[in-house]
Amino acid sequence: MMGRARRLLARVRGVFGAGRGDAARAREIATHLALLEEEFRAKGMNEAEAHRQAWLKLGNATVIREEVRRASGIPFVENLWRDVRYALRQLRKSPGFAATVIGTLALGIGAAAAMFTVVDHVLLQPVPYRNAGRLVQIQEVDASGKEAWPLPWLDIQQWRQQSRSFNEIAFSRDMPGGRNFLVSHGAALQVNAQAVSANLFPTLGVQPMLGRGFLPVAPGFAGNKNAGTIVLSYAVWREALGGQSNILGKTVQIDDTPHTVIGVMPPGFRYPADTKDMAQVWTPIELGKNDQARSVVANGYAVLGRLRPGVTVEAAQAEMAALQKRVAQEWPNAVQRTNHSGVLVQRYSDTLVDTDVRKGAAGAAGSGGRAVADCQRERDESVAGAGHSGSGRWRCARRWARAAGELSGRCWWRGWC
Protein backbone atom coordinates (compact mmCIF):
# COMPACT_ATOMS: atom_id res chain seq x y z
CA MET A 1 0.00 0.00 0.00
CA MET A 2 2.74 2.37 1.06
CA GLY A 3 4.82 1.41 -1.96
CA ARG A 4 2.01 2.20 -4.31
CA ALA A 5 1.44 5.61 -2.76
CA ARG A 6 5.12 6.37 -3.16
CA ARG A 7 5.14 5.23 -6.77
CA LEU A 8 2.12 7.40 -7.43
CA LEU A 9 3.77 10.38 -5.82
CA ALA A 10 6.92 9.83 -7.86
CA ARG A 11 4.94 9.74 -11.04
CA VAL A 12 2.94 12.86 -10.18
CA ARG A 13 6.17 14.61 -9.32
CA GLY A 14 7.58 13.61 -12.65
CA VAL A 15 4.69 15.33 -14.33
CA PHE A 16 4.25 18.32 -12.05
CA GLY A 17 7.85 19.07 -11.35
CA ALA A 18 9.93 18.75 -8.22
CA GLY A 19 10.51 22.35 -7.19
CA ARG A 20 9.63 23.45 -3.69
CA GLY A 21 6.12 24.67 -4.48
CA ASP A 22 5.76 21.86 -6.99
CA ALA A 23 6.47 19.17 -4.40
CA ALA A 24 3.58 20.25 -2.21
CA ARG A 25 1.32 20.49 -5.24
CA ALA A 26 2.38 16.99 -6.31
CA ARG A 27 1.51 15.57 -2.89
CA GLU A 28 -1.85 17.25 -3.04
CA ILE A 29 -2.59 15.88 -6.49
CA ALA A 30 -1.32 12.41 -5.58
CA THR A 31 -3.96 12.23 -2.86
CA HIS A 32 -6.52 13.50 -5.31
CA LEU A 33 -5.62 10.73 -7.78
CA ALA A 34 -5.63 8.10 -5.06
CA LEU A 35 -9.12 9.12 -4.01
CA LEU A 36 -10.32 9.06 -7.60
CA GLU A 37 -8.82 5.57 -8.03
CA GLU A 38 -10.64 4.42 -4.90
CA GLU A 39 -13.85 5.85 -6.29
CA PHE A 40 -13.46 3.97 -9.57
CA ARG A 41 -12.45 0.72 -7.85
CA ALA A 42 -15.55 1.02 -5.71
CA LYS A 43 -17.49 1.10 -8.97
CA GLY A 44 -16.01 -2.29 -9.77
CA MET A 45 -13.07 -1.36 -12.03
CA ASN A 46 -9.82 -3.29 -11.80
CA GLU A 47 -6.75 -1.49 -10.58
CA ALA A 48 -5.27 -0.64 -13.97
CA GLU A 49 -8.56 0.65 -15.32
CA ALA A 50 -9.20 2.70 -12.16
CA HIS A 51 -5.72 4.17 -12.48
CA ARG A 52 -6.29 5.12 -16.09
CA GLN A 53 -9.69 6.64 -15.40
CA ALA A 54 -8.36 8.62 -12.46
CA TRP A 55 -5.78 10.32 -14.66
CA LEU A 56 -8.40 10.94 -17.32
CA LYS A 57 -10.71 12.49 -14.79
CA LEU A 58 -7.93 14.75 -13.54
CA GLY A 59 -7.33 15.99 -17.07
CA ASN A 60 -4.32 16.97 -19.12
CA ALA A 61 -1.50 17.18 -16.61
CA THR A 62 0.67 19.46 -18.72
CA VAL A 63 -2.14 21.95 -19.23
CA ILE A 64 -2.94 21.92 -15.52
CA ARG A 65 0.70 22.47 -14.61
CA GLU A 66 0.97 25.40 -16.97
CA GLU A 67 -2.25 26.89 -15.67
CA VAL A 68 -1.15 26.47 -12.07
CA ARG A 69 2.16 28.11 -12.84
CA ARG A 70 0.51 30.94 -14.65
CA ALA A 71 -1.79 31.42 -11.67
CA SER A 72 1.20 31.46 -9.30
CA GLY A 73 3.01 33.99 -11.43
CA ILE A 74 6.06 31.82 -12.05
CA PRO A 75 6.15 31.92 -15.84
CA PHE A 76 7.23 35.53 -16.07
CA VAL A 77 10.47 34.86 -14.27
CA GLU A 78 10.92 31.56 -16.02
CA ASN A 79 10.37 33.10 -19.42
CA LEU A 80 12.71 35.91 -18.61
CA TRP A 81 15.44 33.50 -17.58
CA ARG A 82 14.84 31.46 -20.72
CA ASP A 83 15.11 34.60 -22.85
CA VAL A 84 18.32 35.61 -21.12
CA ARG A 85 19.86 32.21 -21.67
CA TYR A 86 18.75 32.24 -25.27
CA ALA A 87 20.28 35.67 -25.79
CA LEU A 88 23.55 34.60 -24.20
CA ARG A 89 23.71 31.52 -26.43
CA GLN A 90 23.11 33.63 -29.50
CA LEU A 91 25.77 36.12 -28.48
CA ARG A 92 28.31 33.37 -27.91
CA LYS A 93 27.59 31.99 -31.35
CA SER A 94 28.36 35.27 -33.13
CA PRO A 95 31.06 37.20 -31.25
CA GLY A 96 31.18 40.02 -33.81
CA PHE A 97 27.53 40.73 -33.32
CA ALA A 98 27.98 40.36 -29.57
CA ALA A 99 30.78 42.94 -29.55
CA THR A 100 28.64 45.34 -31.55
CA VAL A 101 25.71 44.91 -29.22
CA ILE A 102 27.83 45.24 -26.08
CA GLY A 103 29.67 48.24 -27.51
CA THR A 104 26.42 49.93 -28.46
CA LEU A 105 24.92 49.26 -25.07
CA ALA A 106 28.06 50.42 -23.26
CA LEU A 107 28.19 53.63 -25.27
CA GLY A 108 24.49 54.22 -24.88
CA ILE A 109 24.47 53.60 -21.16
CA GLY A 110 27.72 55.47 -20.66
CA ALA A 111 26.52 58.47 -22.62
CA ALA A 112 23.23 58.51 -20.80
CA ALA A 113 24.96 58.19 -17.44
CA ALA A 114 27.43 60.94 -18.34
CA MET A 115 24.64 63.21 -19.48
CA PHE A 116 22.74 62.50 -16.32
CA THR A 117 25.79 63.25 -14.19
CA VAL A 118 26.29 66.54 -15.96
CA VAL A 119 22.66 67.53 -15.87
CA ASP A 120 22.43 66.43 -12.27
CA HIS A 121 25.46 68.44 -11.23
CA VAL A 122 24.92 71.44 -13.43
CA LEU A 123 21.21 71.84 -13.41
CA LEU A 124 19.47 69.67 -10.90
CA GLN A 125 21.26 70.26 -7.64
CA PRO A 126 23.55 73.16 -8.30
CA VAL A 127 22.92 75.65 -5.61
CA PRO A 128 20.93 75.30 -2.42
CA TYR A 129 20.01 78.95 -2.28
CA ARG A 130 16.86 81.01 -2.57
CA ASN A 131 16.09 82.16 -6.06
CA ALA A 132 19.46 80.82 -7.18
CA GLY A 133 18.91 81.86 -10.79
CA ARG A 134 19.47 85.48 -9.78
CA LEU A 135 22.86 84.84 -8.21
CA VAL A 136 25.80 85.79 -10.39
CA GLN A 137 29.54 85.48 -10.06
CA ILE A 138 31.51 88.60 -10.97
CA GLN A 139 35.12 88.28 -12.10
CA GLU A 140 37.65 90.68 -13.52
CA VAL A 141 39.04 89.70 -16.91
CA ASP A 142 41.33 91.11 -19.53
CA ALA A 143 40.28 91.96 -23.07
CA SER A 144 40.62 88.33 -24.16
CA GLY A 145 38.41 87.13 -21.32
CA LYS A 146 41.22 85.66 -19.21
CA GLU A 147 40.59 85.95 -15.49
CA ALA A 148 42.62 88.62 -13.70
CA TRP A 149 43.95 88.00 -10.21
CA PRO A 150 43.70 89.28 -7.56
CA LEU A 151 40.29 90.88 -7.38
CA PRO A 152 40.86 93.38 -4.56
CA TRP A 153 38.48 94.91 -2.04
CA LEU A 154 38.97 98.38 -3.48
CA ASP A 155 37.41 97.33 -6.81
CA ILE A 156 34.54 95.58 -5.04
CA GLN A 157 33.97 98.73 -3.05
CA GLN A 158 33.60 100.74 -6.28
CA TRP A 159 31.11 98.20 -7.66
CA ARG A 160 29.07 98.33 -4.47
CA GLN A 161 28.91 102.09 -4.61
CA GLN A 162 28.29 102.58 -8.31
CA SER A 163 26.47 99.61 -9.81
CA ARG A 164 22.67 99.55 -10.10
CA SER A 165 22.15 95.96 -11.19
CA PHE A 166 22.42 94.26 -7.84
CA ASN A 167 20.51 94.06 -4.58
CA GLU A 168 23.62 92.81 -2.84
CA ILE A 169 27.25 92.21 -3.65
CA ALA A 170 28.94 89.74 -1.33
CA PHE A 171 32.49 88.45 -1.39
CA SER A 172 34.58 85.75 0.23
CA ARG A 173 37.90 84.01 0.21
CA ASP A 174 39.46 80.88 1.64
CA MET A 175 40.75 81.50 5.15
CA PRO A 176 44.51 81.73 5.21
CA GLY A 177 46.43 78.56 5.85
CA GLY A 178 44.83 76.36 3.24
CA ARG A 179 44.07 73.50 5.60
CA ASN A 180 42.10 74.54 8.60
CA PHE A 181 41.34 72.53 11.67
CA LEU A 182 38.50 73.08 14.06
CA VAL A 183 39.49 72.13 17.57
CA SER A 184 36.98 71.54 20.29
CA HIS A 185 37.52 69.57 23.50
CA GLY A 186 40.83 68.33 22.22
CA ALA A 187 39.36 66.75 19.06
CA ALA A 188 40.28 68.20 15.69
CA LEU A 189 38.27 68.13 12.49
CA GLN A 190 39.60 69.37 9.19
CA VAL A 191 37.21 71.96 7.86
CA ASN A 192 36.83 74.18 4.86
CA ALA A 193 37.00 77.67 6.34
CA GLN A 194 35.74 80.69 4.42
CA ALA A 195 36.15 84.33 5.31
CA VAL A 196 32.96 85.97 4.07
CA SER A 197 31.39 89.41 3.92
CA ALA A 198 28.70 90.06 6.50
CA ASN A 199 25.99 90.13 3.82
CA LEU A 200 26.85 86.72 2.31
CA PHE A 201 24.01 84.74 3.91
CA PRO A 202 21.36 87.40 3.07
CA THR A 203 22.72 87.49 -0.48
CA LEU A 204 22.30 83.72 -0.75
CA GLY A 205 18.90 84.01 0.86
CA VAL A 206 19.57 81.37 3.50
CA GLN A 207 19.09 81.87 7.22
CA PRO A 208 21.00 79.99 9.90
CA MET A 209 19.05 77.13 11.41
CA LEU A 210 20.28 78.03 14.88
CA GLY A 211 21.32 81.44 16.07
CA ARG A 212 22.02 84.20 13.61
CA GLY A 213 24.31 85.22 10.80
CA PHE A 214 26.77 88.08 10.85
CA LEU A 215 25.60 91.53 11.86
CA PRO A 216 24.96 93.84 8.90
CA VAL A 217 27.99 96.08 9.06
CA ALA A 218 29.69 97.94 6.28
CA PRO A 219 33.16 96.48 5.78
CA GLY A 220 35.85 98.79 6.99
CA PHE A 221 39.39 98.68 8.20
CA ALA A 222 38.54 99.30 11.83
CA GLY A 223 37.66 96.26 13.95
CA ASN A 224 34.03 95.33 13.40
CA LYS A 225 31.24 93.94 15.54
CA ASN A 226 31.50 90.53 13.94
CA ALA A 227 35.12 90.03 14.86
CA GLY A 228 35.87 86.67 16.44
CA THR A 229 32.54 85.08 15.56
CA ILE A 230 31.92 81.94 13.52
CA VAL A 231 29.01 80.19 11.80
CA LEU A 232 29.13 76.39 11.50
CA SER A 233 27.75 74.06 8.87
CA TYR A 234 25.25 71.49 10.05
CA ALA A 235 27.83 68.72 9.49
CA VAL A 236 30.42 70.41 11.69
CA TRP A 237 27.87 71.00 14.40
CA ARG A 238 26.76 67.36 14.35
CA GLU A 239 30.11 65.68 13.87
CA ALA A 240 32.58 67.77 15.76
CA LEU A 241 30.32 69.19 18.41
CA GLY A 242 27.82 66.35 18.85
CA GLY A 243 24.88 68.51 17.85
CA GLN A 244 24.78 70.23 21.25
CA SER A 245 21.68 72.39 21.46
CA ASN A 246 23.51 74.91 23.65
CA ILE A 247 26.29 75.48 21.14
CA LEU A 248 25.60 79.18 20.65
CA GLY A 249 28.06 81.31 22.51
CA LYS A 250 30.53 78.45 22.93
CA THR A 251 34.08 78.85 21.79
CA VAL A 252 35.76 76.75 19.12
CA GLN A 253 39.26 77.14 17.80
CA ILE A 254 40.21 77.40 14.17
CA ASP A 255 43.95 76.79 13.99
CA ASP A 256 44.51 78.08 17.53
CA THR A 257 42.39 81.19 17.10
CA PRO A 258 39.29 81.15 19.31
CA HIS A 259 35.92 81.97 17.71
CA THR A 260 32.50 82.36 19.30
CA VAL A 261 29.78 80.30 17.65
CA ILE A 262 26.85 82.54 16.68
CA GLY A 263 24.96 80.30 14.27
CA VAL A 264 24.54 76.92 12.60
CA MET A 265 23.46 76.68 8.96
CA PRO A 266 20.71 74.23 7.88
CA PRO A 267 21.59 70.74 6.60
CA GLY A 268 22.64 70.71 2.94
CA PHE A 269 23.79 74.31 2.96
CA ARG A 270 27.23 74.87 1.54
CA TYR A 271 29.17 77.80 0.18
CA PRO A 272 30.99 77.89 -2.18
CA ALA A 273 28.50 75.58 -3.83
CA ASP A 274 31.20 73.38 -5.37
CA THR A 275 32.72 72.55 -2.00
CA LYS A 276 32.89 68.79 -1.73
CA ASP A 277 33.40 68.74 2.00
CA MET A 278 30.30 69.49 4.00
CA ALA A 279 32.40 70.33 7.05
CA GLN A 280 32.50 74.07 6.57
CA VAL A 281 32.78 77.11 8.77
CA TRP A 282 32.35 80.79 7.94
CA THR A 283 34.04 83.69 9.65
CA PRO A 284 33.64 87.40 8.94
CA ILE A 285 36.13 89.10 6.69
CA GLU A 286 38.27 91.57 8.55
CA LEU A 287 39.89 93.94 6.12
CA GLY A 288 43.59 94.47 6.68
CA LYS A 289 46.64 95.99 5.11
CA ASN A 290 46.46 93.63 2.12
CA ASP A 291 43.12 95.20 1.26
CA GLN A 292 44.34 98.78 1.29
CA ALA A 293 45.91 98.86 -2.16
CA ARG A 294 45.53 97.45 -5.67
CA SER A 295 48.60 95.29 -6.10
CA VAL A 296 49.66 91.76 -6.87
CA VAL A 297 49.84 90.99 -3.15
CA ALA A 298 46.36 92.31 -2.39
CA ASN A 299 43.81 89.82 -1.01
CA GLY A 300 41.76 88.42 -3.87
CA TYR A 301 38.06 87.70 -3.43
CA ALA A 302 35.36 85.67 -5.07
CA VAL A 303 32.43 88.00 -5.69
CA LEU A 304 28.79 87.05 -5.73
CA GLY A 305 25.97 89.39 -6.69
CA ARG A 306 22.22 89.08 -6.42
CA LEU A 307 20.55 90.64 -9.45
CA ARG A 308 17.77 93.09 -8.85
CA PRO A 309 14.38 91.79 -10.05
CA GLY A 310 14.01 92.39 -13.77
CA VAL A 311 17.73 92.79 -14.40
CA THR A 312 19.12 90.19 -16.78
CA VAL A 313 22.62 88.76 -16.64
CA GLU A 314 23.34 90.47 -19.95
CA ALA A 315 22.21 93.85 -18.64
CA ALA A 316 24.36 93.45 -15.53
CA GLN A 317 27.30 92.43 -17.71
CA ALA A 318 26.88 95.56 -19.84
CA GLU A 319 26.64 97.87 -16.83
CA MET A 320 29.61 96.29 -15.09
CA ALA A 321 31.76 96.33 -18.22
CA ALA A 322 31.25 100.06 -18.56
CA LEU A 323 31.89 100.59 -14.85
CA GLN A 324 35.02 98.45 -14.79
CA LYS A 325 36.61 100.47 -17.61
CA ARG A 326 36.73 103.37 -15.17
CA VAL A 327 37.64 101.29 -12.11
CA ALA A 328 40.55 99.66 -13.94
CA GLN A 329 42.16 103.06 -14.37
CA GLU A 330 42.81 103.06 -10.62
CA TRP A 331 45.35 100.27 -10.97
CA PRO A 332 48.90 101.61 -10.65
CA ASN A 333 50.52 100.39 -13.85
CA ALA A 334 49.54 100.00 -17.50
CA VAL A 335 49.78 96.21 -17.60
CA GLN A 336 47.48 95.89 -14.61
CA ARG A 337 45.06 98.42 -16.09
CA THR A 338 44.86 96.21 -19.18
CA ASN A 339 44.63 92.97 -17.26
CA HIS A 340 41.76 94.23 -15.13
CA SER A 341 39.96 96.15 -17.85
CA GLY A 342 36.93 93.91 -18.15
CA VAL A 343 34.45 91.95 -16.06
CA LEU A 344 32.64 88.72 -16.58
CA VAL A 345 29.19 88.35 -15.03
CA GLN A 346 27.96 84.76 -15.08
CA ARG A 347 25.06 82.98 -13.52
CA TYR A 348 26.56 81.42 -10.41
CA SER A 349 25.18 77.97 -11.15
CA ASP A 350 26.88 78.09 -14.56
CA THR A 351 30.29 78.58 -12.97
CA LEU A 352 30.24 75.38 -10.98
CA VAL A 353 31.40 73.02 -13.71
CA ASP A 354 34.49 72.79 -15.83
CA THR A 355 34.29 74.84 -18.96
CA ASP A 356 34.74 71.74 -21.11
CA VAL A 357 31.98 69.91 -19.35
CA ARG A 358 29.74 72.93 -19.60
CA LYS A 359 30.48 73.32 -23.28
CA GLY A 360 29.77 69.65 -23.82
CA ALA A 361 26.56 69.84 -21.89
CA ALA A 362 25.46 73.01 -23.58
CA GLY A 363 26.36 71.67 -27.01
CA ALA A 364 24.61 68.40 -26.55
CA ALA A 365 21.76 69.54 -24.43
CA GLY A 366 21.13 72.85 -26.16
CA SER A 367 17.75 74.23 -25.45
CA GLY A 368 16.85 71.04 -23.63
CA GLY A 369 19.28 71.93 -20.90
CA ARG A 370 18.05 75.49 -20.85
CA ALA A 371 14.51 74.27 -20.39
CA VAL A 372 15.67 72.19 -17.46
CA ALA A 373 17.54 75.16 -16.05
CA ASP A 374 14.47 77.38 -16.43
CA CYS A 375 12.46 74.73 -14.71
CA GLN A 376 14.98 74.51 -11.93
CA ARG A 377 14.89 78.24 -11.46
CA GLU A 378 11.14 78.24 -11.28
CA ARG A 379 11.25 75.45 -8.79
CA ASP A 380 13.81 77.28 -6.70
CA GLU A 381 11.57 80.30 -6.69
CA SER A 382 8.55 78.32 -5.64
CA VAL A 383 10.51 76.42 -3.00
CA ALA A 384 12.00 79.52 -1.46
CA GLY A 385 8.81 81.50 -1.90
CA ALA A 386 5.33 80.41 -0.94
CA GLY A 387 6.22 76.72 -1.08
CA HIS A 388 5.30 74.08 -3.63
CA SER A 389 2.51 74.99 -5.94
CA GLY A 390 0.81 72.11 -7.70
CA SER A 391 0.45 73.88 -11.03
CA GLY A 392 4.13 74.81 -10.97
CA ARG A 393 5.03 71.21 -10.52
CA TRP A 394 2.94 70.17 -13.51
CA ARG A 395 4.42 72.90 -15.61
CA CYS A 396 7.82 71.60 -14.55
CA ALA A 397 6.89 68.05 -15.44
CA ARG A 398 5.77 69.10 -18.90
CA ARG A 399 8.90 71.13 -19.42
CA TRP A 400 10.95 68.19 -18.25
CA ALA A 401 9.29 65.87 -20.70
CA ARG A 402 9.88 68.31 -23.54
CA ALA A 403 13.46 68.88 -22.47
CA ALA A 404 14.11 65.16 -22.23
CA GLY A 405 12.70 64.67 -25.70
CA GLU A 406 14.84 67.41 -27.20
CA LEU A 407 17.86 66.19 -25.30
CA SER A 408 17.64 62.64 -26.54
CA GLY A 409 16.82 63.85 -30.03
CA ARG A 410 19.91 66.02 -30.17
CA CYS A 411 22.12 63.34 -28.64
CA TRP A 412 20.84 60.88 -31.17
CA TRP A 413 21.46 63.33 -34.01
CA ARG A 414 24.99 64.08 -32.83
CA GLY A 415 25.72 60.43 -32.31
CA TRP A 416 24.48 59.70 -35.79
CA CYS A 417 26.47 62.40 -37.59
Partner: protein, 115 residues
Protein backbone atom coordinates in the same frame (compact mmCIF):
# COMPACT_ATOMS: atom_id res chain seq x y z
CA UNK B 1 -19.08 16.10 -28.21
CA UNK B 2 -15.96 18.17 -27.95
CA UNK B 3 -17.81 21.46 -28.35
CA UNK B 4 -20.27 20.38 -25.70
CA UNK B 5 -17.42 19.74 -23.35
CA UNK B 6 -15.78 23.04 -24.05
CA UNK B 7 -18.85 25.16 -23.48
CA UNK B 8 -19.33 24.47 -19.82
CA UNK B 9 -15.60 24.93 -19.44
CA UNK B 10 -15.82 28.43 -20.82
CA UNK B 11 -18.66 29.36 -18.55
CA UNK B 12 -16.72 27.92 -15.67
CA UNK B 13 -13.71 30.08 -16.36
CA UNK B 14 -15.45 33.16 -14.98
CA UNK B 15 -17.53 31.51 -12.33
CA UNK B 16 -15.35 28.73 -10.97
CA UNK B 17 -13.98 31.06 -8.30
CA UNK B 18 -17.47 31.89 -7.13
CA UNK B 19 -18.51 28.23 -7.10
CA UNK B 20 -15.44 27.18 -5.11
CA UNK B 21 -15.96 29.97 -2.57
CA UNK B 22 -19.61 29.06 -2.18
CA UNK B 23 -18.77 25.36 -1.79
CA UNK B 24 -16.32 26.14 0.99
CA UNK B 25 -18.88 28.36 2.66
CA UNK B 26 -21.57 25.69 2.74
CA UNK B 27 -19.37 22.64 3.31
CA UNK B 28 -16.62 24.01 5.52
CA UNK B 29 -12.93 23.12 4.93
CA UNK B 30 -12.54 20.76 1.96
CA UNK B 31 -9.70 19.22 0.00
CA UNK B 32 -9.55 19.42 -3.77
CA UNK B 33 -11.12 15.99 -4.39
CA UNK B 34 -14.05 16.86 -2.13
CA UNK B 35 -14.58 20.19 -3.82
CA UNK B 36 -14.50 18.56 -7.26
CA UNK B 37 -16.92 15.83 -6.19
CA UNK B 38 -19.26 18.37 -4.67
CA UNK B 39 -19.14 20.38 -7.89
CA UNK B 40 -20.16 17.31 -9.87
CA UNK B 41 -23.02 16.50 -7.50
CA UNK B 42 -24.51 19.96 -7.32
CA UNK B 43 -24.23 20.68 -11.03
CA UNK B 44 -25.87 17.34 -11.69
CA UNK B 45 -22.89 16.38 -13.83
CA UNK B 46 -23.60 19.34 -16.13
CA UNK B 47 -20.18 20.59 -15.26
CA UNK B 48 -18.25 17.48 -16.08
CA UNK B 49 -14.99 19.30 -15.65
CA UNK B 50 -11.56 17.82 -15.60
CA UNK B 51 -10.93 17.93 -11.91
CA UNK B 52 -7.43 19.23 -12.46
CA UNK B 53 -8.78 22.57 -13.71
CA UNK B 54 -9.68 23.20 -10.10
CA UNK B 55 -6.04 23.66 -9.14
CA UNK B 56 -5.32 26.91 -10.93
CA UNK B 57 -8.45 28.33 -9.33
CA UNK B 58 -7.28 27.17 -5.90
CA UNK B 59 -3.86 28.71 -6.43
CA UNK B 60 -5.42 31.95 -7.58
CA UNK B 61 -7.87 32.14 -4.69
CA UNK B 62 -5.12 31.35 -2.22
CA UNK B 63 -3.02 34.18 -3.67
CA UNK B 64 -5.93 36.59 -3.33
CA UNK B 65 -6.08 35.53 0.31
CA UNK B 66 -9.68 34.47 -0.11
CA UNK B 67 -9.00 30.85 0.89
CA UNK B 68 -6.31 29.34 3.08
CA UNK B 69 -4.89 25.84 2.70
CA UNK B 70 -3.77 23.67 5.60
CA UNK B 71 -2.41 20.14 5.52
CA UNK B 72 -4.47 17.55 7.30
CA UNK B 73 -5.61 13.91 7.09
CA UNK B 74 -8.55 12.45 5.20
CA UNK B 75 -10.96 9.93 6.79
CA UNK B 76 -8.81 7.04 5.61
CA UNK B 77 -5.63 8.73 6.70
CA UNK B 78 -4.25 10.24 3.51
CA UNK B 79 -2.52 13.58 3.74
CA UNK B 80 -4.44 16.28 1.94
CA UNK B 81 -4.58 20.03 1.77
CA UNK B 82 -7.83 21.34 3.23
CA UNK B 83 -9.01 24.70 1.98
CA UNK B 84 -11.18 26.99 4.03
CA UNK B 85 -12.74 30.38 3.46
CA UNK B 86 -10.92 33.35 4.98
CA UNK B 87 -12.56 36.49 6.29
CA UNK B 88 -11.77 38.45 3.15
CA UNK B 89 -12.88 35.41 1.14
CA UNK B 90 -16.26 35.63 2.81
CA UNK B 91 -16.48 39.30 1.88
CA UNK B 92 -15.40 38.57 -1.67
CA UNK B 93 -18.01 35.84 -1.91
CA UNK B 94 -20.75 38.27 -0.90
CA UNK B 95 -19.57 40.76 -3.47
CA UNK B 96 -19.17 38.19 -6.23
CA UNK B 97 -22.59 36.74 -5.48
CA UNK B 98 -24.13 40.16 -5.78
CA UNK B 99 -22.30 40.81 -9.02
CA UNK B 100 -23.35 37.46 -10.43
CA UNK B 101 -26.98 38.00 -9.51
CA UNK B 102 -27.00 41.46 -11.09
CA UNK B 103 -25.37 40.08 -14.22
CA UNK B 104 -27.73 37.12 -14.42
CA UNK B 105 -30.75 39.36 -13.91
CA UNK B 106 -29.59 41.69 -16.63
CA UNK B 107 -29.02 38.88 -19.11
CA UNK B 108 -32.36 37.43 -18.14
CA UNK B 109 -34.07 40.73 -18.98
CA UNK B 110 -32.51 40.70 -22.42
CA UNK B 111 -33.63 37.13 -23.00
CA UNK B 112 -37.18 37.91 -21.87
CA UNK B 113 -37.32 40.85 -24.25
CA UNK B 114 -36.24 38.73 -27.19
CA UNK B 115 -39.09 36.34 -26.50
Amino acid sequence: MSSKEREPGQILQGTLDLIVLRTLETMGPQHAYQIATRLGQVSDKLLSLNQGTLYPALVRLEQYGWIAGAWGRTENNREAKFYSLTKSGRKALAKETERWRAMAAMVERFLAEEA
